[in-house]
């Protein structure tokens, strides 16, 4: 029986190595591109949905609260935590002098998770909520302005500026995206 000659084996191995290298390179690049674009897509969807929630609540807020509960706060409004005071909703209309509180804060165990928690008044028809807005949080910053654009303390603010940065990372591949928006408190 004749087998392959040494030269044939060497040539075939060399060709196989070259072609295989190209193929693996294509595969790796493709996978890298896939993960990066997947991260970009994930970030984009995350940031849009998170901002929609934030802006809707800020628009409806009567004021930025110092914290929640107001007397002995577990959450204190700062540049990274936002506590909003919204008029409580009855079955058909707003309940006067009664407020629900909405807290936007990072998860205490995982700083990449941004949560929205709603603490309604017992009379309110608004539901208590503890919702994860994003698991890709890199940074969130709140700034507080009056109607003339001067920076003020949170409780005096009629405009809240939100700057949200999300970061998706898989291995060495990462992608970061920032969105910034200023929202006026319509009920201030």
């Amino acid at each position: 029986m004749k087998g392959f000659s040494l030269l044939e084996v060497i040539i075939v191995s060399a060709i196989g190595l070259v072609v295989g290298t190209f193929l693996i390179s294509i595969l790796v690049n493709s996978n890298g591109f896939f993960f990066k674009q997947g991260a970009v897509i994930n970030e984009g969807v995350n940031i849009n949905d998170t901002m929609d929630n934030l802006t809707s609540m800020i628009r409806q807020a009567s004021a930025v609260a110092t914290g929640y509960p107001e007397a002995t706060p577990s959450f204190v409004t700062s540049s990274h935590v936002l506590v909003l005071k919204l008029a409580s909703e009855g079955p058909t209309e707003i309940i006067p002098d009664t407020y629900d509180y909405v807290v936007f804060s990072t998860d205490p165990t995982n700083p990449n998770i941004l949560r929205m928690q709603i603490f309604p008044d017992p009379q309110s028809s608004r539901k208590s909520t503890n919702q994860v807005l994003t698991t890709l949080l890199d940074n969130v910053q709140y700034k507080f302005y009056d109607k003339n654009g001067n920076q003020v303390t949170p409780v005096s603010a009629s405009v809240v500026e939100v700057s949200l940065t999300v970061l998706a990372q898989t291995g060495q591949v990462s992608s970061q995206r920032t969105s910034k928006v200023s929202v006026t408190l319509r009920n201030m």
């Binding site: 072609v19 693996i24 294509i26 970009v40 984009g44 707003i94 006067p96 002098d97």
Partner: protein
């Protein structure tokens, strides 16, 4: 012939190898990745487009609200909505309902791309009214006359006084107590036009090609002291927003934008369509020096339909200052132009050192703020400059005097209520027998109700004489008022005795404000007298003395001077902080603050 030669002879084209298989696998993986990325991009594109369309739909709904307000004002409140109006890339619809007198509920929905086939909809609901919002933020608010509490009198809430507070014999304030730094009764500087020199200076809009947006009047104090409050003679056109009022130093004959020494807010609700002096106080009273020039600066934005007019003296009789206007006082190099008139204003400097004095177990359960605190039990913090014989939870010596507080209802507001009452009808003659309803209208004469009389009020009611209620009389607002409040204005004295009650409509947040313009400052007589237990209500006497005794239970008191004795209780209702009078001045619909909701 071996097997290989045999294969080659029968299948000369078969070749061995695995690269093709590997190639197919890799290409397959790449194709799958590509398809997934394309799919994800599609999702992202749709998500981004949806976010944009959500914002567009929200903006369309807000456009619908604006349209509804403009239409309500244009039609005198008879606008009922629109089924669909195209705007830009979408459309909006509006529905308007009338839950009670003076209130409209507007529900506007934005659609992208259209109502018939919406991809995104957003609904906004607001309430609007043609009235006046007034904030009574304290259980008791007192002017320069001060507050006297004795013999177990109690305020369940906080008190704010521009004059001294005297508490004796176990009087209690459960909240905080504030006494403002003393205010001199007469203005230190003033400019008030007299006919025929009175003219208008319009600002907050473009006038003859000039953006007259920021306006300032300078003055030179005659004494060095705190500037506690100012008073400006203004009227408004339309519904302009609140104005930020600043006090600045002078730089080369114009306001110095880098030297703002105080700021305060002039609530637009205190100004009506007719001229009237409106008080402005500051977050902290600035110290001004005699002979130096300071500026009262009003900062507005341009609006062709909602702007201001300042009463002005064309003869420029005020010699210690001048008035100027600018398009932007905060520009890099602001340009100030002379108005060629003096603007009507008054400045009030600090007066005597004010104090809270307590004896015989009198207690402030919250914080106490005053220049001087004497013989007082304070459960919270004591904020003072001088203290004698006090016991407090915490001590804060060297604290600044609280600033003076303007009354929550202005003279212009009261005049507007009177005008509205006159427009509703004028009835001449004293009323001394019970009736089922009263108002709206002007009653020229005295009104006396006695002996279990129950009267339903439709406001505004203006009584030119006195109002005398005794023996279980109840005045209550008509139930159609819902959460809105109403007012009875009395020129003479108000007397309540023996379980008389002044009540709202029955809905939470509704109050019947009973107000007298009687001036106790000139003759020392009582403007409001409440005696013999069981009486209840919200009373207001901006220039009058209110005397309440003997186990009466009031909801809120605001007056120039107040005397509470013999177990009187003022039980502050927090709803008064956002009370709303549907018969108020201005006459234009505006959104009720706090009613904005997204559905």
């Amino acid at each position: 012939m071996n097997k290989r030669q045999l294969n080659k002879s029968f299948c000369p084209t078969i070749e061995s190898g695995q690269i093709l298989i590997l190639g197919v696998i890799v290409i397959g993986l790449v194709l799958v990745n590509t398809l997934v990325i394309i799919g994800g991009s599609q999702i992202y594109s749709n998500n981004a487009k949806y976010s944009v369309e959500e914002t567009q739909a929200t903006n369309l709904a807000e456009a619908g609200v604006d349209k509804a307000l403009a239409s309500l004002n244009a039609t005198g409140g008879s606008y009922n909505g629109d089924s669909e109006i195209q705007l830009g890339e979408g459309s909006y619809s509006v529905t308007v309902t009338t839950p009670d007198v003076g209130t409209k509920v507007i529900e506007a929905t934005g659609y992208i791309p259209s109502k018939a086939e919406p991809k995104v909809t957003r609904t906004i609901k607001v309430s609007a009214s043609k009235g006046l919002g007034v904030s009574f933020n304290y259980g008791v608010q007192v002017g320069e006359g001060g507050l006297q509490m004795s013999n177990g009198a109690r305020v369940n809430g906080s008190i704010y006084s521009n004059g001294n507070v005297s508490m004796s014999n176990n009087s209690i304030v459960t909240g905080d107590a504030y006494v403002a730094g003393g205010v001199a009764p007469a203005p230190d500087q003033e400019s008030v036009c007299t006919t025929p020199s009175c003219t208008d200076f319009v600002f907050g809009k473009n006038v003859a090609g000039n953006d007259q947006l920021d306006v300032a009047q300078s003055f030179k104090p005659s004494v060095s002291d705190y500037l506690n409050k100012i008073s400006l003679n203004l009227k408004k056109v339309g519904s302009p927003p609140d104005i930020t009022v600043r006090i600045t130093k002078d730089k080369n004959g114009s306001p110095d934008k880098n030297n703002v020494i105080a700021s305060g807010t002039l609530p637009a609700s205190l100004v009506t369509g007719n001229y009237g002096f409106v008080e402005v106080t500051f977050t902290s009273s600035p110290q001004v020096n005699s002979g130096n020039t300071y500026w009262i600066l009003l900062d507005t934005t341009s609006n062709a339909t909602n702007y201001w007019s300042w009463s002005a003296d064309s003869s420029q009789g005020y010699t210690r200052g001048a008035a100027k206007w600018s398009a932007n006082w905060q520009a890099t190099t602001p340009i100030w132009n002379s108005t060629l008139v003096d603007l009507d204003f008054k400045t009030f400097m600090g007066g005597t050192r004010t104090n809270i004095t307590g004896t015989n177990g009198s207690t402030v359960q919250g914080d106490a703020h005053a220049n001087t605190l004497n013989s007082l039990l304070i459960n919270g913090g004591a904020y003072y400059q001088t203290a004698n014989g006090i016991s407090a939870g915490n001590y804060y010596p060297g604290s600044a005097d609280p600033p003076a507080k303007a009354m929550p209802v202005s003279d212009a507001n009261i005049q507007a209520w009177k005008d509205a009452a006159t427009a509703a009808g004028v009835y001449t003659g004293n009323i001394s027998s019970c009736r089922t309803t009263l108002g709206p209208g002007k009653y020229v004469g005295n009104v006396t109700f006695t002996n279990n009389c129950m009267v339903t009020i439709k406001d505004p009611v203006w009584i030119t004489g006195y109002l005398n209620l005794s023996n279980n009389v109840v005045l209550n607002l008509d139930s159609s008022y819902g959460a809105s409040s109403g007012v009875i204005v009395v020129d003479g004295v108000i007397t309540l005795s023996n379980s008389c009650r002044l009540l709202g409509s029955g809905t939470a947040g509704s109050y019947l404000l009973t107000l007298t313009t009687y001036d106790s400052r000139t003759n020392g007589s009582t403007a409001v007298s409440v005696a013999n237990s069981g009486n209840q209500g919200v009373l207001y006497a901006p220039y009058g003395m209110v005397v309440i005794s003997n186990n009466n239970h009031m909801t809120e008191l605001t007056a120039w001077k107040i005397n509470l004795s013999n177990n009187v209780v003022v039980d502050y209702d927090t709803g008064l902080a956002s009370s709303f009078f549907s018969s108020g001045p201005s006459g234009s619909f505006s959104i009720i603050k706090g009613s904005y909701q997204e559905k």
